[in-house]
């Protein structure tokens, strides 16, 4: 009677797997929406933000310029004209929020002239402009890592893995 039992066992195992995958698919989004991503309680120093920018430039060879802004939209560190960065970053987030009807977390725009990456995390924001065909996932990863470090009151240079 071995074969029928084996078939039944296989069928049960497959059903269970399907249920688990389904539960995972349903539950994942819920988990991420429940993860708190509140405002940073730490005061971010200009030096730490400058160090974070230097770190980003070191990690991203395609980087042309970047800025880090606080919750109020003030520039903590930037390459070049801080007022222009503040103004244009605010304009970008305003347009992006309006486009989707809710606050965006990440913006990625590619044009013939270059690419723009913008990320909000823990009440801080980072904007980076790169050459075309920069690796977007790595750029966002580095930006998120440095914002997370700054939000936690770190030096702006995230620890390695």
């Amino acid at each position: 009677m071995y074969p029928p039992t084996a078939r039944r066992t296989t069928a049960i195992a497959q059903t269970a797997t399907t249920v688990i995958q389904e539960a995972r698919a349903i539950g994942t989004a819920g988990i991420f929406t429940q993860v708190p991503d509140g405002e940073t309680s730490a005061t971010v120093s200009g030096d730490a933000a400058e160090a974070a920018l230097a770190f980003l430039a070191e990690m991203s060879p395609d980087l042309r310029g970047a800025a880090i802004l606080d919750a109020g939209g003030s520039v903590l560190a930037a390459n070049g004209d801080a007022d222009r960065w503040s103004e244009d970053a605010a304009a970008l987030f305003e347009v992006a929020d309006r486009a989707g009807g809710e606050a965006v977390e990440q913006v990625h725009i590619g044009t013939e002239q270059g690419e723009v990456f913008a990320l909000r995390h823990a009440g801080l924001a980072a904007i980076a402009v790169t050459d075309r065909f920069a690796l977007s996932s790595l750029t966002f990863f580095d930006m998120r890592a440095l914002l997370r470090d700054l939000a936690a009151g770190g030096s702006g240079v995230p620890d390695g893995p």
């Binding site: 004209d81 304009a91 970008l92 486009a99 044009t111 270059g114 723009v116 402009v129 075309r132």
Partner: protein, 74 residues
């Protein structure tokens, strides 16, 4: 049977031409501008350049690219 030499040459030339055409096609697809927004629930939205929101996003991005300027030569 060994193919005639000129056929080998023709085969190679057309092979290179096919490769080049595929490269140009991929390049053209990659160079197309895009505006992509990501939300906290993991959702992502694309906005076409000819839509109102897309146009505004490209204008805002263009200003940031202008502020960043050119990449410093190393």
């Amino acid at each position: 049977m060994v193919p005639k030499p000129h056929r080998v040459l023709l085969g190679r030339v057309s092979g290179y031409a096919d490769e080049a055409a595929a490269y140009v096609r991929r390049r053209r697809a990659l160079r197309r501008p895009f505006a992509r927004l990501y939300y906290r629930d993991g959702r992502a939205e694309d906005h076409a350049a000819d839509s109102v929101a897309g146009g505004e996003l490209f204008v805002a991005a263009g200003r940031l690219i202008e502020v960043a300027g050119k990449r410093p030569k190393t």
